[in-house]
Amino acid sequence: MEHKIIFAGFGGQGVISMGTLMAYAAMAENKNVTFYPAYGIAMRGGTANCSVIISDDPVASPVIAFPNILVVMNEPSLDCFTDRLQEGGTLLANSSLIRKKAARKDIRSFYIPVNDIAEELGDSRMANMAMVGSLLKIMNTVTLSTVFQTMKKTFSPKLLKVIDINQEAMKKGFHAVQL
């Protein structure tokens, strides 16, 4: 098993948090993992992306040229990264903000309205967590409960009070996907 995942979106959408959380959770399940962010120029409203490789074997190259899973939170990211997705790869797109569909027919695509899911919970900032939920269901490599435990360990103390709503968003994202 080896997943090469690229997460991309606007700065402020929690793209790096998604990648970090997946990396922590994969480590908790004793997978080999490498997380690599696009760094240095991060700002709210700019573009942000990161790569996460989760593997049973030690990770060789930490650089992902062609991901097998692409998670895009906004339309510019869909335009930018879809060409790089491996043939037969999986696309997860935030359909709340992405109105179009990917042009490629050789990939598996899931359109999840994660901003709407988050709004239903009363906090649009939970969109990224809803997306992580969807990703977990599709990947079927890391369990929801591992991620929940990971959140307890890795969230800073001031964020612990919002852990419930984060987990709620994740569950909704998980169930929003039909395989």
Binding site: M27, Y36, Y39, V59, A60, S61, V63
Partner: protein, 351 residues
Amino acid sequence: MGEKQLMKGNEAIAEAAIRAGMTCYFGYPITPQNEIPAYMAKHLTIRGGTFIQAESEIAAINMVYGAACTGARAMTSSSSPGISLKQEGISYLVGARLPAVIVNIARGGPGLGNIAPSQADYFQAVKGGGHGDYHMVVYTPETVQEAADLTMKAFDVADEYRNPVLILGDAILGQMMEPLVFKEPSGKKFDKSSWTLGNRKGRKSHLINSLSLTEGVVEQWNWELKKKFDLMAERELMVEEYMVEDADVIFVAYGTTARICRSVVHQTRKQGMKTGLIRPITVWPFPTETIAGHAEKTKHFFVVEMSLGQMIEDVRLAILGNAKIHFHGRPGGGIPAEADILKQLKAILQS
């Protein structure tokens, strides 16, 4: 065994240094190594050490010189342009026979360049950099785990030879997060009482400098340094040989590019192509003999670097015309793509 943690390479280096007994860190901010001084600022002081954000890189390396004079384990870190500024200080550390650890999380150059990963500081790291006849052990970790392990080792090696040691990484190593387990530091003790400065009550005075205008003295120092460099070359070499035994083509790469080549080896082996990898873990001393040994039976060596080709010169000197050398490089922050390496590899195998 300690607990498995997920850390950035930069943070792992910083934590490993503290665990190795480093008590003095001096630095000046520059991307992509900022997490090192940030970590030190947060953790070193509360654990009893001294952290100073110096007014410049030059000030920082000279603070390292000062701290090392007192026998403290001292370290500085920077990225390419900042490491250039430290070269005078590094030469002085060697001249004054002072141990220290210097970390270069390299970025694209020349000039101010960019903040992307690069291996274009190879020449600077292994061929001098500063003035005078000198060498230092240069470690090139490829994973976060190895970055931590080699940082701990670097302090022992620096103390053992009373010489600076360089850790040469790149922006990917610094920025990526991977799980690691901190090993126990060696616990080796080094008696520095015969040369350190400080409270001289009850002993003769010590002088640490790198200047003598008396005829022949500096030459004599150099001959003594040479003995030390020879010993370092003999004892401190580290190299990994990966699937090289039956290889038709052997990649030679270090750090991040070694990992990229390792991916290519995995892919090509599945397709029945016999490829292998020689990964220098120290680029000084360089695994000349290892490469020379394989050049007797392997016809093609494929050097991959994030530069226009620097280590390739050392590979050429090892092979001495006994095999063909090929090169793939990306300068200025470019990262070699597996697909491009693979394409070139297939052309080599068909030739």
